[in-house]
């Protein structure tokens, strides 16, 4: 749980005496700073941004990983573009990699080999670029899940959520365009896969394929077209959307986890300067360092072993990068259904899992904030996050979604699973066909029960305190454990979440009421003030059975003040 900053009695910083003489550093920077201030208003900007407050929590750094990965991608990408030739013109390889010498290949593949083997640091840059791309999409996913599970997409952040979904979709396309560029056997196979996806679009499929590839697959245009998409179009869109994402972040201010002193009207944390300058700046170098180490020590996409793309060849272990793995898996486990109506072919086996599922995922993600707003009818702004357990049904839906995604992803790696775990390929696919529907339902039910159980634990702590570890034996031989009252800060945190009571039917439509009951009907309600007071009173020295427990909980009496903090919360 987030660590709330202790409340300080001193709410204002005493003003520094005006006559203080500036030190040597300030004296030196005074000139340039004044110059900048007179031209771009740096003082005003600095005052606004340097004193911007951000709350502290490790999960708030997941989005930063994505941002830093993007910067690493730009830096390493620029290095690669200096030598990469986006051309499908055929050349004979005469470079330094002996095992491909004399083979016919495209200039794109030849220049990639050149970068890998003959350019100083080229292979390191290529591998860093690829690892960074994997981390870029992975951290976007992780960040999105953090935002989802804590309800950070609620008003006023719905638009920023939609921008985030767009960033995720664009990042996926960007990654696909990138790994298709080298024109090796694997990337060519991936392009063939996408060619099939495009063709499976009903009625206009073949036309769209010819439009994208400039004729029949593979043609001679696709690499230069993807190059434009990869280094100009999508990075431009990504940059613009990232800017918008961050601008809205500054405008909305950052969300914070519940805790004492934290409300929807404030942000409790540290200022950008100097705390977050150091933390975020340091984290950038850590991300860069980890990516460099991965690029240096872990081989990725060894395209010289794949060989140049040749439509007559294919290799075992042909998979896309991980973020397309779930689409690959959906197509692998889909039964081979196909219809022929008139002169048209309807490839349900490709269009449903491929085009359909991708559309479904991003549509569901995009509209989710409005679904929940409709359910709750909540028009308030929310800047304090929800702990995942306090919204069991949302958390359960999220985990069910993750489960379905993982099932599809397992399908995408079914051959690797078969060989590494000595299982039958066919059985894996058959099991997954069922599991992709059943496992999310199970995950939903289990997650919801776990969340409700956790809120009951919270309730237990509120009403009976924390376990002291002191076991008493009664004269009759029974054992019981003493409980300590929890701190007021923790009690505040545990009771600060929203409640969604059943509303009168005049206020909402019957359908809304039904959905609301499904979503929030099983939530624990917070203890009332009377219950809390009774519990505190009970802790002050009344032995005897209390209303909820089973008689074995006894509060520690007398020896400790309930006001004392029993521990950090």
């Amino acid at each position: 749980m987030a660590k709330p900053a202790p409340l300080s009695e001193q709410t204002t910083v005493p003003a520094t005496p005006a006559e203080r003489t500036p030190g040597p550093v300030l004296r030196r920077v005074a000139g340039p700073v004044t110059w900048a201030d007179e031209r771009v208003g740096a003082a005003g900007l600095g005052k606004f941004f340097l004193r911007k407050i951000f709350p502290d929590h490790w999960s708030f750094l997941l989005g930063e990983i994505a941002l830093y990965s993007f910067i690493i991608l730009l830096i390493t990408g620029v290095y690669l573009t200096i030598w990469f030739k986006p051309s499908m013109a055929e050349v004979e390889y005469e470079g330094s990699y002996q095992l491909l010498r004399g083979l016919a290949m495209s200039e794109a593949y030849e220049s990639t080999l050149h970068i890998s083997f003959d350019i100083r640091g080229g292979l390191l840059m290529r591998q860093m670029h690829h690892w960074s791309a994997m981390l870029f999409v992975a951290s976007m996913f992780a960040h999105m899940l953090r935002v989802f599970f804590t309800g950070a997409f609620r008003k006023p952040r719905e638009l920023n959520w939609v921008i985030g979904v767009a960033l995720l979709a664009l990042g996926t396309i960007e990654g696909f365009a990138g790994y298709s560029l080298p024109d090796d056997l694997l990337s060519g196979t991936g392009l063939r896969f996408v060619d099939g996806l495009i063709r499976s679009i009903p009625v206009i499929g073949t036309w769209a394929e010819f439009f994208v590839f400039g004729g029949e697959f593979p043609g001679t245009l696709i690499i230069s077209r993807l190059y434009m998409v990869h280094i100009l179009l999508i990075p431009g869109l990504l940059l613009a959307l990232i800017a918008a994402h961050m601008a809205l972040l500054v405008y909305h201010k950052h969300t914070q986890y519940p805790g004492p002193g934290r409300t929807d009207q404030n942000v409790v944390g540290y200022p950008l300067f100097p705390v977050y300058m150091a933390k975020a700046g340091g984290f950038f170098f850590i991300v860069f360092g980890v990516t460099t180490l991965m690029g240096a020590f872990m081989q990725i996409n060894p395209l010289w072993t794949y060989g140049p793309y040749n439509p007559a060849q294919v290799t075992a272990g042909s998979q896309p990068d991980w973020y397309m793995g779930w689409v690959e898996g959906a197509i692998r486990i889909m039964p081979g259904w196909e219809s022929h109506w008139g002169s048209t072919t309807w490839s349900w086996n490709v269009v449903v899992p491929g085009v359909g599922l991708m559309g479904l995922l991003f549509t569901l993600l995009g509209v989710y904030p409005w679904i929940e707003a409709w359910l709750t009818g909540d028009k308030r702004e929310h800047h304090v996050l929800e702990r995942p357990r306090t919204n069991p049904t949302r958390t359960a839906f999220g985990v069910a979604g993750i489960t379905a995604y993982i099932m599809l992803m397992l399908g995408g790696g079914n051959d690797i699973i078969a060989t590494q775990f000595r299982m039958s390929l066919n059985n894996i696919s058959l099991v997954l066909r069922v599991a992709v529907f059943v496992a999310p339902v199970l995950a939903f039910l289990i997650t919801k029960r776990i969340c409700i159980a956790l809120t009951r634990v919270d309730q237990e702590r509120l009403l009976h305190g924390s376990e002291s570890g002191i076991i008493n034996r009664s004269p009759a031989g029974g054992y019981s454990e003493d409980h300590l009252p929890i701190s007021q800060g923790e009690a505040f945190t545990l009771t600060s979440h929203n409640e969604y009571p059943v509303l009168e039917s005049e206020e909402i439509s019957p359908r809304q009421a039904k959905a609301r009951r499904f979503f929030y009907g099983d939530n624990m309600s917070k203890p009332t003030r009377a219950e809390l007071e009774a519990a505190a009173h009970h802790a002050d020295g009344h032995d005897g059975d209390h209303e909820l427990g089973d008689g074995d909980h006894h509060a520690v009496t007398g020896s400790r003040q309930p006001e004392l903090t029993g521990g950090k919360d």
Binding site: L61, Q299, G307
Partner: protein, 266 residues
């Protein structure tokens, strides 16, 4: 010429001519008669007998007392000595238990016993013989020939055995095994006999010369330095897994560490 004509009435001439004629006929016969396709009589009869004895103890319960095959195992008539050599020397035969496919294991029989069993099975019917080293040895190939071997490998082999020869999955629990560290002789034999799920690549499809280039490519590929840890050479699935475990896992740990370091976090 005087030497020949002066002694032509000698009494030893007739028998000597007879012997010379016999040699001539014998020599002509060995040249003119087509080469024996079968290796049926290649082993000495004692080796065949030893092989039969070993066969009846170790193999006959599945392959039948005379190698005719049973419901448990296929007939061995006509599979050839190469098949026995490949199956037994890689430890695939005898199988420990019925399975989708016989896995590679340490061999049970020694070289002499394998030769004896190979001779016995070869005597049942003609089939591919155990190759000589010249047929599979990758020695003395040029860089261009090895590169061509790579192209042959990617065209004919990598669909099942993976781009780096790491192996791949086949339907119903069957698999194409890894080719890393496999003896050149066994690669030649596997191509010719088409064991288990593998199709036969006969000398008309892939010549001995081509086999040598493929073997040389695989050996060169293993010797090539990789761009770091190979992660099993399994392609993007293992790369994605490690991106999440090492990359995201490691960075999440760093994030926890950074968030715990605060001006007032103590």
């Amino acid at each position: 010429m005087k030497f020949l004509s002066s002694r032509r009435r000698h009494k030893a001439v007739k028998p000597l001519l007879l012997v010379a004629a016999l040699f001539l006929m014998g020599g002509l016969y060995t040249v003119a008669v087509p080469e024996q396709q079968s290796s049926a009589d290649s082993g000495t009869s004692t080796q065949v007998e030893e092989g039969r004895a070993l066969f009846q103890v170790g193999c006959s319960s599945c392959h039948g007392l005379n190698g005719e095959g049973t419901s448990e195992g296929p007939t061995l008539v006509g599979v050839g000595a190469a098949s026995v050599d490949w199956q037994v020397e890689t430890g695939r035969m005898p199988m420990a238990q019925q399975a989708e496919q016989a896995p590679k294991r340490p061999p049970v029989y020694n070289r002499e016993e394998i030769d004896a069993m190979a001779a016995y099975v070869a005597s049942l019917g003609p089939g591919p013989d155990i190759p000589t080293e010249a047929q599979y040895s990758p020695e003395g190939l040029s860089a261009e020939e090895i590169a061509r071997g790579g192209e042959l490998f990617r065209t004919n082999c990598s669909a099942c055995h993976n781009f780096a020869g790491a192996g791949g999955a086949l339907p119903d629990g069957k698999y194409a095994p890894s080719l890393q560290g496999v003896e050149p002789k066994h690669i030649w034999e596997a191509l010719r006999i088409g064991p288990q799920q593998m199709p036969v690549f006969g000398p008309e499809t892939i010549t001995d010369e081509d086999v040598r280039t493929i073997v040389a490519y695989l050996q060169s590929l293993e010797q090539e330095p990789a761009g770091g840890l190979t992660l099993g050479n399994l392609g993007p699935v293992s790369e994605g897994l490690w991106a999440w475990i090492v990359g995201m896992g490691g960075l999440a740990l760093f994030a926890v560490w950074i968030a715990s370091k605060g001006a007032r976090s103590k």
